[in-house]
């Protein structure tokens, strides 16, 4: 079990150290990781199955050169999948959180771009990669709620990056095993 160090000194620095290192952060981070991880897992799957449809979705944003749309459509779903699995398993959670933050910042920028340029689209392509098909099938308008959803997940991932040591996950198991082997268990 992790030791919860108690700085001997008092004052703002000690208070901050106690607050930052409080074990409750590890517990709070678990549901955040699960919600974000499952969300990304659900989002990644259809894009992996139909990358050509996801390519259409990316193209609809008109943000990057059409020449590189395929490349992004191939790589991004796997990055989502790997980060989601890492989040759910608690493996390299802080690294995965950084990746998640990066993707979410990218999604927020893309949605903002679509708003600013008034790009006509009725699906963000977040979960249904069939961007153009979604026009007829879903008609879920690209609203600010999507933006807030991504911002909320970004805050959650930021929290994981800052405060989650990965105690409740594979990181914690590996760390405890390592400590036992080195005689500290």
């Amino acid at each position: 079990m992790n030791s919860h160090a108690r700085p001997s000194s008092s004052g703002p620095a000690a208070w901050m150290a106690r607050a930052w290192n409080h074990p409750a952060h590890d517990v709070l981070a678990v549901p955040i990781r699960w919600v974000v991880g499952v969300t990304f897992l659900i989002a990644a799957w259809p894009k992996l199955v139909a990358p050509e449809d996801f390519a259409w979705s990316i193209a609809m944003y008109q943000m990057i050169s059409p020449r590189y749309v395929h490349l992004l459509a191939i790589i991004l779903p796997v990055v989502e999948l790997v980060a989601a699995i890492a989040f759910l398993a608690g493996f390299r959670v802080r690294g995965a959180a950084v990746v998640m933050c990066g993707m979410l910042v990218m999604f927020i920028m893309a949605l903002s771009w679509a708003f600013i340029h008034e790009i006509e689209m009725t699906s963000c392509g977040c979960f249904s990669p069939a961007g153009a098909k979604a026009l007829s099938e879903h008609r879920d308008t690209v609203g600010t709620s999507l933006l807030w959803r991504d911002v909320a997940m970004l805050i959650g991932c930021g929290y994981v990056w800052l405060f989650d040591t990965g105690r409740w996950g594979l990181d914690g198991i590996l760390r405890r095993r390592k400590r036992r082997k080195s005689g500290h268990g």
Partner: protein, 302 residues
């Protein structure tokens, strides 16, 4: 050995007395890089191994609403004089909407309408994909080539190669190779054996729900979206030798089965069906529910 000395990649240090774990936060960036590299390599390998993997870079643009001006010169074009009618190594694909297609098309041309807000028909794309390698796929639109260029970019997205846009469109073909083929959708005022025929209601869903002919199938007319594939399957499964599409407003050009302009709903739907290979399609040249009687669900109009 301290906790921080114990920790390695993937094993972050347990909580310490330090106010901010700068080292762990920085290591997260290294782990993030490793995750992204791993994911990228996996993605490229997965794409390379899967049978329908995408080319990494595209030679033509993605485009939904119009061609990007900066790549217009990259669109492969072909002139009508380089094409021979009936050439087995060339497939002509007409990308206009059904009523324009029936009004006049190149004999033997495939029908692949490109709607404003939908990708090309997957079934036709599969047929194109199954063509022997080296076959030229020549896309034909109206006189302008914008629709054909959109179709070219949309099909190239699907991984098709050998795509060309016919320079000058349909008019250029007609000038070089003679008259076009046209199909007239018959309009009948007095359907024969109405009980044994299949009836298609071309009105919107609300009107259909309010009242329709008994046993009719609703296929709402839409010039922006393709017909619902499931409804088309139902119509095909019915295997009817006569299909009547209704209603028609006689006051607005009812005598024209095919028009260059957007047709009446019944004619539009009938054209869609004929262009997609349905046989025995006719327009019932009468309004619904007729001059007598209320509009009652399931009622049979006069």
């Amino acid at each position: 050995m301290s906790d921080s000395e114990n920790s390695g990649p993937g094993t972050p240090a347990p909580r310490s007395g330090a106010a901010v774990p700068w080292r762990e936060l920085a290591l997260a960036w290294r782990d993030a890089g490793l995750l992204v590299v791993f994911a990228t390599v996996s993605a490229l390998a997965f794409n390379g191994l899967r049978p329908n993997g995408l080319p990494l870079l595209r030679y033509a643009p993605f485009d939904l609403l119009g061609p990007c001006p900066e790549i217009l010169n990259d669109v492969p074009r072909i002139t009508a004089d380089k094409l021979k009618p009936g050439d087995p190594n060339v497939v002509i694909v007409d990308v206009r909407l059904a009523w324009d297609f029936l009004a006049g098309h190149i004999p033997g041309a495939w029908f692949l309408p490109l709607y404003e807000t939908a990708p090309p028909d997957e079934a036709v794309v599969q047929r194109l994909r199954a063509l022997k390698p080296g076959t030229w796929i020549v896309l034909v639109g109206a006189a302008g080539t914008v629709t054909a260029e959109r179709a070219l970019t949309a099909l190239s997205v699907q991984g098709l190669r050998g795509l060309f846009v016919l320079e000058g469109g349909l008019g250029a073909w007609e000038g070089h190779h003679g008259p076009l083929a046209a199909v007239q959708v018959p309009a009948v005022a007095d359907p024969q054996d109405p009980e044994g025929a299949l009836w298609i209601d071309a009105r919107d869903e609300e009107s259909f729900a309010a009242g329709h002919r008994e046993g009719a199938i609703n296929l709402p007319f839409d010039d922006l979206l393709p017909p619902d594939p499931e409804v088309l399957l139902r119509i095909r499964a019915a295997k009817a030798d006569r299909i009547y599409v209704y209603p028609v407003d006689p006051a607005s050009g009812a005598d024209r089965a095919v028009s260059g302009a957007t047709p009446q709903p019944a004619f539009g739907v009938a054209c869609e069906l004929v262009a997609r290979g349905f046989r025995g399609v006719m327009v019932w040249n009468a309004p619904y529910p007729g001059s007598t009687g209320p509009d009652v669900r399931g009622s049979t109009p006069p």
